[in-house]
């Protein structure tokens, strides 16, 4: 039963993933991504990782995708058609080709890594409830605290950089207006 469910969910996640790339409207892309995340969360549940499943939905579906939607809705609705048209010729552009090469490369590397089990998995027992939660927390804030903090600093740096870039552009516009 669980195995069948796993394959069905995996297939659904992949289909939703295809939907993200192939959907004509960006709105549908985001909603497909939402479906994909949901399938992943249920797969985590099947594996016994309740906390991870809830965190997946809370963080990705509840916060990050909402921000995506926010940005998409800020784009003018009239431009939606233009974006959709461009996505038809998506595979022709050079950047898309480079991106595809990188994606395939990453997939190959990931597959190789997975098949050789080259990475050390975090030793968290798939426990339920607070025991599993405690184990995850001790690993995250104990052994892996440096990586965890480094990731947060990286994110912070990205935010600061984006704000700096946006501010500079706006100041440039203002100066241009005055001159």
């Amino acid at each position: 039963m669980a195995e069948i469910l796993f394959y069905v969910l995996s297939a659904a996640a992949l289909l939703f993933g295809l939907g993200v790339v192939l959907a004509k409207s960006p709105m549908m892309s985001v909603l497909s991504l939402l479906g994909s995340f949901f399938c992943l969360a249920i797969i985590y549940l099947l594996a016994g990782f309740q906390f991870l499943a809830a965190a997946q939905i809370l963080v990705y579906a509840g916060a990050i995708l909402v921000l995506f939607l926010f940005v998409i809705m800020l784009l003018n609705l009239g431009e939606m058609g233009a974006i959709a048209e461009r996505s038809n010729s998506f595979l022709d552009s050079t950047s898309a080709r480079i991106g595809a090469v990188i994606a395939v490369g990453m997939g190959v590397v990931g597959l190789a890594a997975a098949s050789r089990a080259a990475f050390q998995p975090v030793r968290v027992e798939p426990g339920t409830g607070l025991d599993g939660l405690e184990a995850i927390a001790t690993e995250l804030f104990g052994r892996y605290s440096l990586a965890f903090e480094a990731a947060s600093i990286l994110l912070l740096a990205t935010i600061v950089a984006v704000i700096a870039l946006a501010k500079r552009q706006r100041r440039g516009l203002k100066d241009g207006g005055r001159a």
Partner: protein, 352 residues
């Protein structure tokens, strides 16, 4: 009857009782909203349907079912139809983990009075409850109307902003009780002196404010905001689809009230009666939730609406820093509790 079969039967009964009870309460709240507003404005409110207008929700329901359900020409048809379900579904799903009462013994069967006691109940409520924003966003977008779109935009910004403060406020309580299981948190507050409101009043205030924003209630109902946006994200909706949005909002109110009661006000524990019968426990929970629901209505008909930039400033520049500092202090106090205790003892002994 075999134990497995019995378990399934008990479970089905519980799901029906709790779910239908929830929808019933949501329907009654719509009537309460009109009655309370009338009472506050020196009017009568609905009086024609049934005694004192008590059957008004039923009449409303019939009206919603028989009205024409319009789909605007320019709308994205499928998304437009899907959005109300997205709005109402998550709010109803979160009811599953709320502990409405202690162990119930009926016909010789003893079972906890909640659909399921999840170890990560609070995470589940936050995760699933956070999804109801999609209904508002997708509904606002699919309507293909500028008012709906603006309403959806506001809802997405507002809900993401206040979700942070809400999660941090709840985390403080989780830190002192050491559990994400709502029933476990309730069990730790058996007597009046153990209620978390005495230890975490700031977290409760933060949660309360964020709850108003999360449920899109006045004074934070910018997603509908009649003077500016006609009626916001559901401008184009009519009949049952509109009713589903309203139902989702009222269900979310009930869930938020239940979470507040369970986390801060002892849940189903009866004040001064630690060994109360389970019926009293359920009644106590309902009474506490009713107080909160009344508070929601009271605020709606008392306070004026904020401005949207004020809402954002409050969320990011006031609530979030306070919530962060509060969580930090809570964590510090918990970590250094033994040292603080010995320090306190030393001070008391030194003074005497």
């Amino acid at each position: 009857m075999s134990p497995e079969l019995l378990e399934i039967v008990v479970w089905i009964v519980k799901v029906h009782v709790i779910f239908l009870g929830m929808v019933g309460v949501a329907a009654i709240t719509t009537l309460a909203e009109r009655k309370v507003s009338a009472w506050m404005q020196y009017r009568h409110g609905p009086t024609r349907v049934g005694p004192q207008g008590l059957l008004q929700p039923l009449a409303d329901g019939v009206k919603f079912i028989f009205k024409e359900s319009l789909v605007p020409d320019g709308a994205n048809k499928w998304m437009f139809r899907f959005a109300p379900a997205l709005a109402a579904g998550p709010a109803m799903l979160t009811v599953a983990v709320i502990p409405f009462g202690p162990d119930v013994t009926l016909f010789g069967v003893t079972t906890p009075f909640s659909i399921v006691d999840l170890d990560i109940g609070l995470m589940y409520i936050l995760a699933i409850g956070g999804l109801s924003v999609y209904g508002v966003i997708v509904g606002g977008w699919a309507s293909n109307s500028k008012y709906s779109l603006l309403g959806g935009l506001r809802a997405s910004a507002q809900m993401v902003s206040y979700e942070l403060s809400m999660i941090l406020a709840i985390l403080s309580v989780v830190a002192i009780s050491g559990s994400l299981d709502l029933r476990e948190v309730v069990m730790q507050q058996k007597t009046l002196g153990e209620w978390n409101i005495l230890y975490q009043p700031v977290a409760f205030l933060l949660f309360l404010i964020a709850a108003f924003a999360e449920t899109n209630r006045h004074p934070f109902d910018f997603a509908e905001c009649e003077p500016e946006l006609v009626s916001g994200f559901h401008t184009e909706y009519s009949a049952m689809r509109f009713a589903l949005f309203a139902l989702g909002e009222y269900c979310a109110m009930v869930v938020m009230s239940s979470v507040a009661v369970a986390l801060w006000f002892g849940g189903f524990s009866v004040p001064f009666m630690p060994e109360a019968h389970w019926t009293l426990g359920i009644l106590a929970f309902c009474a506490k939730v009713t107080c909160f629901l009344f508070f929601f209505l009271w605020v709606r008909w008392t306070l004026p609406r904020f401005r949207f930039d004020q809402l954002m400033n409050l969320g990011w520049k006031v609530m979030l820093p306070i919530a962060l500092v509060h969580l930090f202090i809570t964590g510090a106090v918990i970590s250094f509790a033994p040292q603080l205790k010995s320090l306190w003892n030393g001070l008391v002994n030194g003074a005497s």
